[in-house]
Amino acid sequence: MTEIRVPALSLVVLVGVSGSGKSTFARKHFKPTQIVSSDHCRGLVSDDENDQAATPEAFDLLHHIVGVRLRRGLLTVVDATNVQWKAREALVALARSHDVLCDAIVLDVPEEVAVARNASRPDRDFGSHVIRRQRNDLRKSLSKISRDGFRRVHVLRGGEIDDAVIGYEKAWTDKRELTGPFDVIGDVHGCASELETLLATLGYQDGVHPGGRTAVFVGDLVDRGPDSPGVLRRVMGMVERGTALCVSGNHEQKLVRALNGRKVRVAHGLETSLEQFAREDDVFTGRAKAFMEGLISHYVLDGGRLVVAHAGLKEAYHGRASGRVRSFALYGDTTGETDEYGLPVRYPWAEEYRGRAMVVYGHTPTTHAEWVNNTICLDTGAVFGGRLTALRYPERELVSVPAERVWYEPARPLASRGREPDVLDIRDVTGDRYVETSTGTVKIREENATAALEIMSRFAVDPRWLVYLPPTMAPPETSKKDGYLEHPDEAFAEFAAAGVTRVVCEEKHMGSRAIVVLARTPADAQAKFGVEGTGTIFTRTGRPFFGDLQEEFVAGLREAFAPLLEDSPWVVLDGELLPWSAKAGELIRSQYASVGAAAGAALPVVVTALEAAAGRGLDVGPVLDRARRRESNAARFREAYARYCEPVSGVSGLRFAPFQILACAEGATAVTRPHDWHLDRLAAVTHPLVRATRHTYVDLEKEDRRQAAVDWWTALTDAGGEGMVVKPVAHPGGRVQPGIKVRGPEYLRIIYGPDYLESLDELRRRFLGRKRSLALREHSLGIEALSRLAAGEPFHRVHEAVFSVLALECEPVDPRL
């Protein structure tokens, strides 16, 4: 048995003449989807697998398929003769361009065997001279194939071909099986004493953490500082005991070369290390050299969720192997230019980073470790008198100790990296998208994203404030009760059927849905949202509520919610802005009041005319009755909208009625807490600007409690209320609606028209499915946005979820639901 070991992610190039059994070999050892065959591609572009004239196009296709697979990180096998150097060269270059390794497997069979096999296949009509020519090419190739650029060339002859088995070699960088927890430690640069202090602070005792944590060093252990050998001694010891991992830094690379006697420019602190090593014995120096030479470019840890590389690593390079991957990991993405201090200008790859894996790195000293798109640089310039910093993973907690002194003068002043400008990329939002949420993936269609992009760009508030958009809410199943389109019974029944035992009924304010984001101070706003100001209020589509009044109103809200801001430097609140006329004045006048005016002018005339006709003895009875009913309906319609109109001047007259704390700095997402928590906390806020949300809890298992809630709703709506929202006190998860709105019969006149009760049967045929599904999807996305916000995920990740809510809102649904 011959075991052929190939890298788990690689391009495997089969080499052999026609009839050497490559396809059979490939089928035996690889999945059909992993094999890309030139014959198959020839067939795809010409309908004839043997049409040699189609070969150039067939190979274009083959290279394209191979390229796509490699980009997506899939092992790929090329089944083509590849007996000529040119063919192999192209494949090796293709593998290299995707930073994957490339192995060749040569099937070297005698010419007569190949000729005989081809002769037995009716579809192979070329003569034996073709095989002979291929044999010659192969023979010439075999002597120097090792120089083609393959990682390894496996040559199989005779019985070896049938006996071979394939084994896979994991990449050195692949440590996905290690799940931590980790303590990633930034550039030490010979600061041995600070390292000991930091390790102690992290809880390590003589290089071992009692909790089983693993330290991960981002490289640049040496140079500049007072005791590089001491640092190496500590780290090597930990790596040998398995309590630490270490990736290579550029300084280790250069130090090894210098210690090996290679000619290097002694600068940037190398001189300090060489001086210190001169005092060490050969045994230690040998050990240190071996250790530093053995360091690899980067590690992929914790199932692919964490990547550690000295200078960071862009997503396309994670887990890949090539010279440029190593160079990126060690030196970063340099632009080739140098700055005024003679140091290389680095390309800001992190700003464009959109990968799911967290990338932790060092290399560029800054005053503070800052998150940029799920990446963080831990080099806080310990050797320059800054701090030595570690990141606890998965806690995302920074731990640092100050430098004992300035050990080395920096070539350029330590820049505060500052918070990166939160620029979003078009790829964050466009195209068909699949957005992951904790309750499943939500698909966003391209055309909806297109519409949302315009709204977001032109009308929305600054997207950095826009951390949430409220989901739409579905009404209950349509009621069959006489005179009702919606009734609490159906809402209660639905939740009871879903296993919910306790719901809260909240008064539904008739105003405009409003999301309020507040920060305790401008600094808190800057820290959490990266934006100037102290708060904002926006509509359910992300638009600002007011022009010039916005600031004054937000100031009032900050005063009102000061108690909440005492506990948390920032809060996000969900509520309703009252009165309705404040925001919807134009709509009320052009739509509702106009209908009322037309009805008010027309119907009395109609009634008078009909009465006159009746007076003449004409039979207009039913028509007259209906006209009178319509007259009274129109009057009630006018009353219905008038209830929600109040004069507002400036901010006086405006009220905010909160019903939920969406998020605050108390760890977990507030939104997932039970509603009694929200209502209790909000009840503590009493301020003239804030209107309380009346509510009642209902034990669904008790019939009398349900009836009491129905009575509560009836009283509320009889008094002119819009209705109520029924929510499970604690959401059970799954496909259960987060809330159901039950609107009162009078309010529904505004929605379905003054005379809607005349055509109830017709209106009962309404389709709720789409609305309900939309409500669930938007709810998941909203929660997702808030959990991403709470978890401190990068801005574009929060934006993705919020943008998706807006995109879903562009889906056409019955606007009356």
Binding site: L453, A598, A613, R616, A642
Partner: protein, 459 residues
């Protein structure tokens, strides 16, 4: 609607209308019922009433999403109460024979002018009572149009768009009916749901003998026929940039002699500057309906890309530029795609010049740094041209209060623009030069101001 006459015997109105005064008749319509009855019928005075009972639910359900006027799809609708085109078509059919002027029983009467009084209690009237008078008076009507307040409970809301219309006059009944048939939808000026193929013929037939001589012929035909193209118009009206041409309709300054519209001057200035800079590839960020693209195509610029945040606007641009009928060589020079200047976009890179023509003032000031990074930091073309209104020039516009466009978030003075441009240039490594566009007033400068950014080290 009621029609009365005092011509004795007034009950002959029944013959003229072909509806018996002592009967109550019903005519089913697609979306409701039309009733005809007589509230009074004496020899001295006879009144016929046409009551159209529209069921808004049925109206909404029968229309669907292709309704030209989406408000017709709403259940909260004035159609059940207002004398709209629905009433006009119902009347046309219910009184079809009367409208044609045929009356076998009283042929003489049908041919003669009789005293008539027509009352429409709630007539939607775009243009107000004045227009109602203007349209009906030329035919000899004595017109009373009383505006109806929006809501008596809210006097501060003012009047609604409805009037109570009373027409009095001595006219042939058939003529009267034809006047109503044409002018009700014209006054309503809402999109009619009913689009018939032969709308022009209908107008000509109903307008026979009076329309051609009407002083407001143009307005009447335009409004009446607007409905036919309503589908296309409604679609595109919604698509166009909010008030795209608002600024251009502003009164030019009194002393300004040359009346070349500002947008033309601006476009020419940009085209000239690009030619001077010899830009061979240009990306127009915020291209709108593609005027600059057309001009640059004519100039022979080899590569022109238009970007807009509105997919609808791009559709209009593609139509205006006739992209689908362009020869393949020309077509290859043009590219249009949706993008936003506040989102970095790899597709923005690689151009000699980027143009932001009247774009920055549509961004909220806090979003400007994002735009700056997208354009100057990421796309980094050699040249960036930015034009924006000069706020100092605004007092020269006679009727202007506030900003020049409802969507402008700000308008800069020359100093403010210079300050912004200077700081952007410094941060991103550009040199900047300012140029006036349009008449350069010694006191307030030019109406439009332009900044030309040149990337350092590119000269």
């Amino acid at each position: 609607m009621t029609i009365s006459t005092t011509r004795e015997p007034a009950t002959d109105l029944g013959f003229l209308l072909h509806k018996h005064p002592d009967r109550v008749q019903e005519f089913p319509r697609a979306f409701g019922v039309a009733h005809v009855f007589y509230p009074e019928a004496t020899d001295q005075r006879c009144t016929a009433a046409l009551l159209l009972d529209v069921d808004p639910v049925r109206l909404a359900r029968t229309r669907g999403r292709t309704t030209p006027d989406f408000s017709l799809g709403q259940y909260v609708n004035d159609r059940p109460y207002a004398a709209s085109s629905l009433l006009s078509t119902a009347m046309a059919e219910v009184f079809r024979t009367a409208r044609s002027g045929r009356c076998d029983a009283r042929p003489e009467l049908a041919r003669s002018a009789i005293p008539l009084e027509i009352v429409l209690p709630a007539l939607p009237c775009r243009g107000g009572p004045t227009l109602a008078r203007r349209l009906f008076e030329p035919m000899g009507w004595d017109v009373t149009a009383d505006p109806i307040p929006l809501d008596p409970a809210f006097p501060e809301w003012g009047d609604s768009r409805y009037v109570t219309l009373t027409l009095k006059g001595e006219l042939r009944l058939a003529d009267a009916l034809n006047h109503l048939y044409v002018l009700l939808p014209v006054l309503d000026d809402a999109k009619h749901y009913w689009i018939a193929e032969d709308e022009v013929d209908k107008l000509i037939r109903a307008g026979e003998g009076w329309l051609a001589a009407h002083p407001d012929l143009t307005l009447i035909t335009r409004r009446y026929l607007n409905r036919r193209t309503a589908l296309t118009r409604a679609a595109f009206a919604r698509l166009a940039e909010v008030g795209d041409d608002e600024e251009e309709t502003l009164e030019p300054p009194a002393e300004e002699e040359v009346r070349i519209p500002l947008n033309t001057l601006r476009r020419d200035a940009v085209v000239e500057t690009l030619a001077e800079l010899q830009a061979r590839s240009v990306i127009d960020l915020g291209c709108g309906s593609g005027q600059l693209i057309s001009a640059l195509l004519d100039q022979g610029v080899p590569k022109i890309t238009g970007v807009d945040v509105s997919a609808h606007t791009l559709m209009i641009a593609a139509r205006r530029l006739k992209l689908d009928r362009m020869g393949s060589r020309t077509r290859e020079r043009v590219d249009l795609f949706q993008g936003s200047v506040t989102y970095t976009d790899a597709r923005f890179a690689g151009y000699d010049a980027a143009v932001l023509m009247e774009v920055v003032e549509h961004l909220d000031p806090p979003r400007l740094p994002a735009m700056e990074r997208v354009v100057f930091g990421a796309a980094k073309p050699t040249y960036v041209l930015v034009t924006t209104p000069n706020a100092e020039y605004n007092p020269r516009y006679a009727n202007l209060t506030g900003l020049r466009h409802p969507d402008h978030r700000f308008e800069w003075t020359r100093a403010e623009f210079r300050e912004w441009a200077g700081s952007v240039a410094e941060r991103y490594g550009y040199q900047v030069e300012h140029r006036p566009v349009g008449d350069d007033d010694p006191d307030v400068g030019s109406p439009t101001q332009m900044a030309v950014f040149v990337k350092e080290g590119s000269a």
